[in-house]
Symmetry: C2
Subunit: 344 residues, 2 copies
């Protein structure tokens, strides 16, 4: 099965020494506090994780603001997404979308229905006007790769439609912490019976290498049954508050990245042939006047890896996506893009 | 679902400072080489693992002696076991058995048939004299909790019977490296079309906290499809030869543990009311003349955690299982058991 993800730095660099704008990871993490915790508790690798993950659940309750009877853990967001898909026969995917939704649904032999997002990368509620019995509708906010967030009103409208038609929603909020939305579905899960909210330490807490995903829902037992015992490592179990309750990191990196993003967006806009889309996340989707393969290769020669978007449905060969990194790195990207434009 | 595993040290000790004979982990690992590797590559936690796991597969090819087109990776043995179960409608389990086989089969809504092992803890080939179409027969060698290994002749007899009756075998060899068997099914996988051999870094390489399982079969694609992308962590991906090709560790810890096991066995036999079973693994099943709950609690007061075996099918309240640890620790167990006996 094609797994042409953004995070393919190993394909292009044996040593991984490229400036990687293809992976949307918070550049301010992992913190020294997190690394120190792992260094000091390295002997935990010789121990099974606590099968009940007591320590981790205590911290997640505080971090997510919801009782642990609503929280499920997984080895990355993928595992909790896979578990949620397992509970329904029909899967609705709004495209373009993270390709793993379809991969997992296919592996599980589900019926898949694809619907196009509207021109502003939002799901149109009128497209959900059909029987959704035993159906899971997957939506994402902020959306990847566009960075567009749904407002609470827009979400509620979709939830109501899906719920009234007999279905459930998987809301993938992998980039939630980067966004500026004024609502928090995880905290309100009791009000949304047929909702699954996916979050992860992967992006905001810069932990794609160790794997920690979590899901908030009213179906904890069904989800947990799907996930093999000990799926989260002992090192992650132990990180606890050093990872998730580090307020200084949470507040400051969110503020810095929002500022860097807005600055990058404005600078990108100034370059001829480069048309960035406003984003509520830590990445920016760019429509270019160029063929993205040539642009990709030229940037690669300069040591810069970006995400080509032609393997996203409905995005043509003119789209790339770039992560927001620290200002000095963003400057390098801007410089390279300007040279590219001038060289043409 | 009941997950009353052996590795429940957290239930009995918040700090985990008990002498743990309940988890069958190689006490000579993880090595300094492994810990140094992790310490020096800690920044990998901020990177997705290589989606193709190229480095890890190169090392596994050498370690297992089989081409990577036969190898699948999982987040611990559990994930590859779960994936194998997913390929069949009917699951045959010989009891007593690792409880996760049944848990995974139930979660996946499979038909489960249980058969008792014979009095020497081996599967009786005559019990497999039925139609095994679309059926996976799970066997374990060395068997857990008895420590009994199958000879090549015994395995072949069972394989032939299962294969002739239309079924497949999952051979769980989680404790393979501790045993003295003179055959290697992983290397011979091409000869065994309907065989799945499960191994893991968990036990022999002392890595239960980080999770690495692997499976050798002729169904790599089907297995891989079942397993979510990036299931193995970057830290593990990077361990490579420092973990799996450390010959000094492999040879010396295997020799030391076999010697310690045989010594422990002989000393256990000398204690009144304690009846150890000969083992080919790094643990010993003991039938006692006592009720195992009282024995368990009394040992716990002395800081020693053993595995009660009454939640294994067909094992009554008189069985405990103890891991083989370093000689000085085994002495403490022997001393405690002798006191227990004298105190009665």
């Amino acid at each position: 099965m094609n797994k042409g993800h953004g995070a393919n730095i190993f394909k292009y660099s044996k040593s991984g020494d490229l400036l990687d704008f293809s992976s949307n990871i918070n550049p301010y993490g992992p913190t020294e506090r997190v690394k120190k915790n792992i260094r000091e508790h390295l002997d935990l690798i010789a121990r099974y994780p606590d099968v009940s993950y007591g320590k981790l659940f205590d911290v997640l309750e505080k971090y997510l603001g919801v009782d642990k009877t609503h929280i499920s853990l997984g080895n990355g967001a993928m595992e909790v997404i896979d578990a949620t898909i397992s509970l329904y026969e029909n899967i609705v995917i709004f495209e373009p979308a993270f390709m793993e939704y379809e991969i997992r649904a296919r592996v599980q032999k589900k019926n898949i229905k694809k619907i196009n997002l509207d021109s502003s990368f939002k799901p149109n509620v009128h497209d959900l006007d059909f029987d959704l019995e035993n159906t899971l509708v997957i939506i994402t906010s902020p959306h990847n790769p566009s960075g567009v967030s749904l407002s609470k009103k827009e979400f509620d409208e979709i939830y109501e439609k899906v719920s009234n038609n007999g279905g459930a929603i998987l809301m993938d909020e992998a980039f939630h912490e980067f966004s500026s939305v004024d609502y928090d579905l995880a905290k309100e899960i009791s009000k949304y019976k047929n909702l699954f909210v996916v979050r992860a330490a992967t992006k905001f807490f810069s932990l794609p290498g160790l794997r920690l995903g979590y899901l908030v829902s009213n179906f904890k037992n069904d989800i947990d049954n799907h996930i093999p015992t000990w799926s989260v490592s002992s090192l992650v179990e132990n990180l606890g508050e050093d990872l998730l309750l580090d307020e200084e990191f949470i507040i400051s990196s969110k503020a810095k990245l929002a500022k860097s993003r807005d600055k990058l967006f404005l600078e990108l806009k100034k370059i001829d042939g480069i048309h960035p889309l406003p984003s509520d996340a830590n990445y920016i989707l760019i429509k270019t006047d160029f063929d993205n393969e040539m642009l990709f290769q030229n940037l690669l020669k300069k040591g810069i890896l970006v995400r080509k978007c032609d393997n996203y449905a409905n995005l043509g060969h003119q789209y790339i996506r770039v992560a927001v990194k620290k200002d000095e790195d963003n400057e390098k990207l801007l410089k390279a893009l300007k040279e590219e434009k001038n060289g043409r």
